[in-house]
């Protein structure tokens, strides 16, 4: 049985760990609320752009644009949104597992797909498996503004236009609520499934022409789809980390409780033993 001092040391160190996890939980909680409000302030932009894209693309059937047309798929792009750091429970592993499974099911050779990684964990995951991401971004802030991701997002859309891949799927974790996040796969490009958001479709006049507007509008739309997913992913990341740290704190508390019990038993045993020895010694003197 461990000595009193050993148990004491373990209790102290577990307590310290639990303080850290508790602090991380609280930090994530506040980051989560900020991330949620960021995601919320993005909604009006997304709704609006979706509305306009839908009314142009669906309203005028004779208008076409390379980004709206499906072409024969020779290469598939996967955009994977993960976090930079771990300690977020199953957040990263569930995304990566689902992408990797999909890739292995669909492709037989490495020439058939490319990976774009947003986040260090995702990039390193593919690197370990000998797949170098063609584009990657790490070190994104916890509350990314559009300016922070403009470069990579534009690059991703440009690569499609240049023909580096013929379709683009995006994997991220969709934030449902603080305890539930779902891995989501979304086809970004080509933009075949544009839904109208239910609102009435207005017939617009185009200045100068519908084609030229699509030229500006569609890349912007695709970029905002990706940015929206990133914000969603960030909210999920903070939520996942919060839950993970919450359960770590709970586990530490449980461990401390068990150790304290063990400590008290050992202490009591030592006292009992001492008394027995004293009584034994006194009896021997009589």
């Amino acid at each position: 049985m461990a000595s009193l001092r050993d148990i004491q040391t373990r209790i102290t160190s577990t307590k310290k760990t639990s303080q850290i996890t508790k602090a991380m939980q609280m930090v994530s909680a506040s980051k989560l609320s900020r991330a949620e409000s960021n995601a919320k302030s993005f909604v009006p932009y997304m709704d609006k752009i979706q509305e306009v894209v839908a009314s142009i693309a669906l309203g005028s059937k004779d208008v076409t644009h390379p980004m709206l047309v499906s072409r024969p798929v020779k290469k598939t792009g996967y955009l994977v949104i993960t976090s930079d750091r771990g300690l977020a429970g199953a957040y990263n592993s569930s995304i990566l597992r689902s992408v990797y499974k999909q890739i292995q099911e669909r492709h037989t050779s490495k020439d058939e797909y490319v990976v774009i990684a947003l986040g260090r964990v995702g990039r390193d995951f593919f690197r370990m498996r000998g797949i170098e991401a063609i584009e990657s971004v790490t070190g994104l802030p916890d509350q990314p503004s559009f300016a922070d991701v403009k470069e990579i997002v534009r690059k991703t859309v440009d690569l499609f236009s240049e023909g580096a891949y013929d379709e683009l799927y995006m994997y991220y974790s969709h934030f449902v609520n603080a305890i539930q996040q779902d891995v989501t796969m979304k086809k970004v490009l080509p933009l075949t499934d544009i839904e109208s958001s239910g609102g009435r479709l207005s017939s617009y006049e185009f200045e100068p022409s519908a084609e030229e507007i699509l030229e500006v509008l569609l890349p912007q739309y695709a970029e905002s789809l990706i940015y929206g997913a990133l914000l969603d992913g960030k909210a999920s990341e903070h939520a996942a980390r919060m839950t993970a740290m919450q359960s770590a704190t709970d586990n530490a508390k449980e461990l401390i409780r068990a150790l304290t019990l063990q400590y008290n038993r050992a202490r009591q045993a030592a006292i009992t033993q001492e008394i027995t020895e004293i009584v034994g010694g006194a009896a021997a003197l009589e």
């Binding site: 207005s202 185009f206 507007i213």
Partner: protein, 136 residues
């Protein structure tokens, strides 16, 4: 005069939501002035300033970096990748960006992509400085 609602929305949230008499913006095909009762229209915008004229002569400038303008019978929406009201512009940062872009343009005349990007960055920076100083 009749007024109508104007919304300027960016990915980082709404920037402007007010009632105005006139919106004047620089579209890719030229300057556009929109008043109440305009036909529904969509037009891409240049990097430039949008002027919002509220009652009478009062006007406000907003710096816009790309995007487009949507006109509906009762509402005008501008969707931009970045937009700042004159009072929210970080002018020191804009001037710094302007200098950086100018240097880049002088040193890297050969590489086309960088050249184009620097040119756009310069345009955005100059636009911000202009809006801050109240020039159109």
């Amino acid at each position: 005069m009749k007024t109508f609602n104007v919304n300027i929305v960016t990915p980082d949230g709404p920037v402007v939501d007010t009632n105005v008499e006139l919106v004047s913006a620089k579209a890719q095909s030229g300057e556009l002035g929109i008043m109440a009762g305009h036909v529904p229209m969509v037009a891409p915008l240049q990097i430039g300033a949008v002027r919002l004229v509220t009652d009478g002569k009062q006007s406000e400038l907003v710096a816009i970096s790309g995007g487009f303008l949507e006109v509906r019978p009762d509402q005008v929406t501008i969707l931009a990748q970045a937009a700042e009201k004159a009072e929210n512009i970080d002018v020191a940062r804009a001037k710094e960006a302007q200098q950086r872009a100018e240097q880049l343009l002088q040193s890297k005349q050969q590489e086309n992509i960088d050249f184009k990007r620097a040119e756009l960055a310069l345009k955005r920076a100059i636009n911000r400085v202009n809006v801050y100083e109240g020039k159109l």
